[in-house]
């Protein structure tokens, strides 16, 4: 290791392990010779490698940000199937459908196989030699770029991928790392931070006697669905907890509710205040509540709330009574609460219930402090993209690097990101698949798949202490011309700052050095090599952090009343998040396209959900092609009659409508992002995704909706899915 020009603090920063809790030993000799590994011939395989027998290797799922530990079944050099890794506190040996489809991301026939460079005839394949020359010329040591002239635009990124990225930017004296998430939860996190002092508290779901969820699809598309599902299973065992879900459109989680209420979009905060009003009648709850809150809540008696929300006053009373009777409870808010111009207040009003009910320390705790803040995930927002877009449009951005995000597809049409891209002289995309954004870039670099690359990941939601998850290749790379994201960045860094990075032949050796250097924090007494091998074998290293306590702040809130619907736009428009497609990045995976969306069972398409009564009044039948018109734009989609929706609301799933993401995604369905109105949260500046209003127009055309359900959606008296009343069930006597 060349340490001459690098002091110790810098060195730790290079490795991503500086930070408050990092009390590390000095830089002595280690037993690592970076990058020098024993190469074994396949003719002399290790004892456990037997032809015909699959061997499991641990890694980390990169399909979403939950950081589930996975195991890949590898046989004859091929990865065949993914399972959950029982060592992982997050996945606990379980895995979701999206995670399973990671193998199809890896073996996808539309993977990008060579670098592409934009010439006169558009993007054409070039060699890596050329690509490196271009990179060096633009971003190498002689690059004049400084500060905000360079920007790195990513989706959520964590671990050493984040460290390298930010260290890379630092060599340009830049901190211009822009994290964009088309499904940003920034508003909800801000509200949670304001009330509880933590953006994402830990939810002890299994300890809750009652969960009141305002539109949080925690079992489907929430912050850590596999972990939440595991906790939910415990929650449903004796003594069985009750789930009440309130949302304009039934999510997967809503389908599991004991009681589901359709609410007028945007009135969730008012309902929460109405429930608070009922609770605060009792001294037990009102003790210590500031006068401002009591004053605020005063205006929201049951009848007033019922008028605005569409939830009957009896229901408001019943919900409050159940919260009273079932402690501890847990109240959570989701995208349908956040997605309004007053989304922050809406979500804050929901969080207020947790404070009033005393759920802190019971069902809600703060996450453990991370020993290595540099490794924690960056969480995306919309306004970060909007800021970047402004800079790009003004010609301030000279170079843009894009990784793990596709804003040309997901940005609404009032944010002309593709247009702004043309103002940036040099744009690099790091992708496994050519997508809409890469199509607008100058240099497109083919990445290794998540099953071919090394990496570390840190999840946003850390249920049990802190886990640093390791990702390792489960097989040799399929395409010789693809490269690891870390390797590409490291190569540039080696040229820009050789004194810090020249010692690392590749990303693997960098990771290994960084992890081994962090060993003391994980309180492992093994030799360095053992520690590293154990980490790879287990797929993670654990740090025994303890949950922290949450604060309770009761800021003054104002809760606006949503504007009435108008005759021009008589419907609320609610975009729904599919647990498998998410923001649309997974639309190229055929298993997921053919996997029926659970609530509707529709496959390979977009559709618009409309309540049967509304449809009847408008004489709309399933399969009628409707034009969905907002003030911003319109799309056409087939009608699907769906009882789990508030009758003045229509809903469309996000994720389809790609023009460029391989054969399985292109031309399937339409893209509802493009009709979202430019309405933003007052507090956070986030796009208010649930605030758009639309008109429906019948086109007179009709097509069959391709779906899995048969002609009836009822059981017709057969005992298919029987339901037992909870008071009759004898769960405690069951095995």
């Amino acid at each position: 290791m060349t340490m001459s020009n690098l002091d110790r603090r810098d060195f730790l920063k290079v490795l991503g392990i500086s930070g408050a809790a990092a009390t590390l030993a000095g830089c002595g000799h280690t037993s690592i010779e970076s990058g020098v590994e024993e190469v074994m011939s396949y003719v002399h395989p290790q004892d456990f490698v037997v032809p015909g027998i699959g061997v499991f290797y641990a890694s980390t799922c990169a399909q979403c940000g939950s950081g589930c530990g996975i195991m890949g079944k590898v046989r004859e050099g091929r990865v065949l199937k993914l399972e959950g890794n029982p060592e992982s506190g997050i996945s606990g040996g379980k895995i979701c459908g999206l995670g399973q489809a990671g193998v199809q991301a890896h073996y996808n026939p539309d993977r990008l196989r060579t670098p592409m460079y934009k010439g006169e005839g558009g993007l054409t394949p070039v060699s890596w030699e050329t690509a490196h020359q271009i990179l060096e010329q633009r971003l190498g040591p002689n690059s004049p770029l400084k500060g905000e002239e360079i920007a790195f635009l990513t989706g959520g990124v964590s671990g050493h991928q984040r460290v390298l990225l930010e260290n890379f930017l630092e060599t340009f004296d830049s901190t211009h790392h822009v994290t964009y998430d088309a499904l940003s939860t920034a508003t909800g996190r801000a509200a949670s931070k304001a009330i509880l002092g933590a953006e994402q508290p830990l939810w002890n779901i299994h300890k809750a006697r009652l969960i009141l969820s305002f539109g949080n699809d925690f079992l489907g598309s929430g912050v850590s669905p596999v972990y939440m599902a595991r906790q939910y299973a415990l929650f449903r065992k004796a003594p069985r907890g009750t789930l009440i879900q309130i949302e304009p459109r039934m999510t997967l989680t809503g389908g599991n509710a004991d009681r589901w209420y359709p609410i007028k979009p945007g009135t969730e905060g008012i309902l929460a205040l109405g429930i608070a009003h009922d609770l605060l009648q009792h001294e037990e709850f009102s003790r210590g509540v500031p006068q401002e809150i009591l004053d605020l809540v005063k205006n929201y008696d049951r009848d007033a709330v019922s008028d605005i929300t569409g939830i009957g006053s009896d229901a408001v009373r019943l919900i409050a009574a159940q919260l009273w009777n079932n402690t501890p409870s847990l109240v959570i808010a989701g995208p349908s609460v956040e997605g309004h111009s007053y989304g922050f207040s809406n979500a804050a009003a929901v969080q207020l219930l947790n404070v009033i009910l005393g759920n802190r320390g019971q069902t809600m705790e703060g996450q453990a402090e991370h020993p290595f803040p540099q490794l924690t995930p960056t969480l995306g927002s919309y306004h970060a993209l909007a800021d970047l877009n402004q800079k790009m449009a003004a010609g301030k951005t000279q170079a843009l690097l894009v990784y793990g995000t596709n804003p040309v597809f997901t940005a609404p049409s009032h944010l002309p990101f593709a247009e702004s891209l043309s103002n940036v002289p040099f744009k690099v995309a790091f992708v496994t698949h050519m997508d809409e954004t890469a199509g607008h870039c100058d240099l497109v670099l083919p990445l290794l798949s998540a099953l071919e690359d090394f990496g570390t990941h840190v999840a946003e939601y850390q249920p049990d202490g802190v886990e640093v998850m390791l990702q390792q290749p489960l097989m040799e790379k399929l395409y010789p011309e693809s490269k690891g994201y870390g390797d590409i960045l490291l190569e540039i860094l080696k040229k820009r700052k050789p004194e810090a990075y020249a010692a690392f032949p590749d990303y693997y050796s960098y990771l290994k050095t960084a992890m081994v250097k962090a060993k003391p924090v994980f309180k492992v007494s093994d030799s360095d090599d053992h520690f590293w091998e154990d980490a790879l074998r287990n797929g993670l290293v654990k740090w025994d952090g303890k949950p922290t306590s949450l604060e309770a702040r009761l800021p003054a809130l104002t809760m606006p009343k949503p504007a009435e619907l108008t005759t021009d736009y008589p419907f609320y428009f609610v975009p729904s998040i599919r647990p498998d497609m998410r923001d649309g990045r997974h639309a190229y995976l055929p298993w997921l396209q053919e996997s029926p969306e659970t609530m509707t069972t529709v496959v390979w398409d977009s559709w618009v959900e409309i309540h049967p009564k509304t449809a009847e009044a408008m004489q709309i039948k399933e399969g009628d092609i409707l034009q969905i018109q907002s003030a911003t734009g319109s799309v056409r989609a087939k009608a699907y009659l769906f009882p789990g929706i508030q009758p003045d609301t229509v809903s469309m799933p996000l994720g389809q409508g790609h023009t460029q993401l391989g054969r399985f995604a292109t031309g399937v369905g339409v893209n509802p992002y493009k009709i979202l109105d430019p309405i933003f949260d007052d507090h956070t500046g986030e796009l208010a995704m649930h605030a758009t209003r639309v008109a429906l127009r019948k086109t007179g055309e009709h097509q069959v909706v391709v779906k899995d359900e048969g002609p009836t959606t009822f059981q017709n008296g057969q005992k298919l899915v029987a339901t037992l009343s909870a008071d009759q069930a004898k769960l405690s006597k069951e095995i």
């Binding site: 489809a101 026939p109 039934m250 498998d580 996997s595 009758p647």
Partner: protein, 282 residues
Amino acid sequence: MSLSNLIQNWNSFRTRRPYEGQYDDAPYKWAMVIDLDSCIGCNACTVACYAENNLPVVGKERFGKGQAMHWIRIERYWGEGDTMTSEFPDHGAQYLPMLCQQCEAAPCEPVCPVGATHHSPDGLNTQVYNRCVGSRYCSANCPYKVRYFNWWNYPDRAWPNPLELQLNPDVTVRSKGVMEKCTFCMQRLRAGMDKAKTEGRILADGEVLTACAQACPTSAITFGNLADKKSKVARMWKNQQVDLAKDSQEKSEEGIRGYRILEELNTYPSIVYLERVRNLEA
């Protein structure tokens, strides 16, 4: 041959199977319990099945013709009668993971003219691909609609290179003209049973799981050996008072959730479902 086969099969199944104590001396009888109160409808099981069993993706057009090949699917219902009882699904949706019920007296078996579908000694309803001539009688006779016919030669088109590298070498890739269905991950069972046999023992409880049970995030699916009275699945069947060899179950008290779907058709399924529970007061 086919008619005599048919009659012979029919007789054997209608008169001999199932009977009390049928598996008392057998090492294995594979069975399942699916807890509908834990099932959240997430589709992890269905995708796991595609990955494990080389199920082809058929595309929109063929899916629309009812040619999807999902051996396990999540059915979603809105009511128990023939209409909704209220304007909204007040107590959520009803999710039902539906797969081959591995019936002990399987309606699909006696109608096969060539004996391609038959009963294995460990209680599975198996499909022998290279005997199947594609009459599709079995599918017509299956009340659960969990048999899937290869209308097309999927190896030609369902796995464009290099997707075929993901195919599980332990599972046949089926060609045009044969029927297929859930096997309870026969390849996993076979490998496990062979290994156990080599070691002179029977499989331990939980040693082999089906792909769906292994993936299921809520552990709603319990899989195991009903012949082993100590296995979790056997204890659950007993606890839920479901008897494999009876076509209607007597329960000692109210509130016991176990039932078998369409049991009244005398199919004697090997899957017990546990009723979904809802707090109807909420």
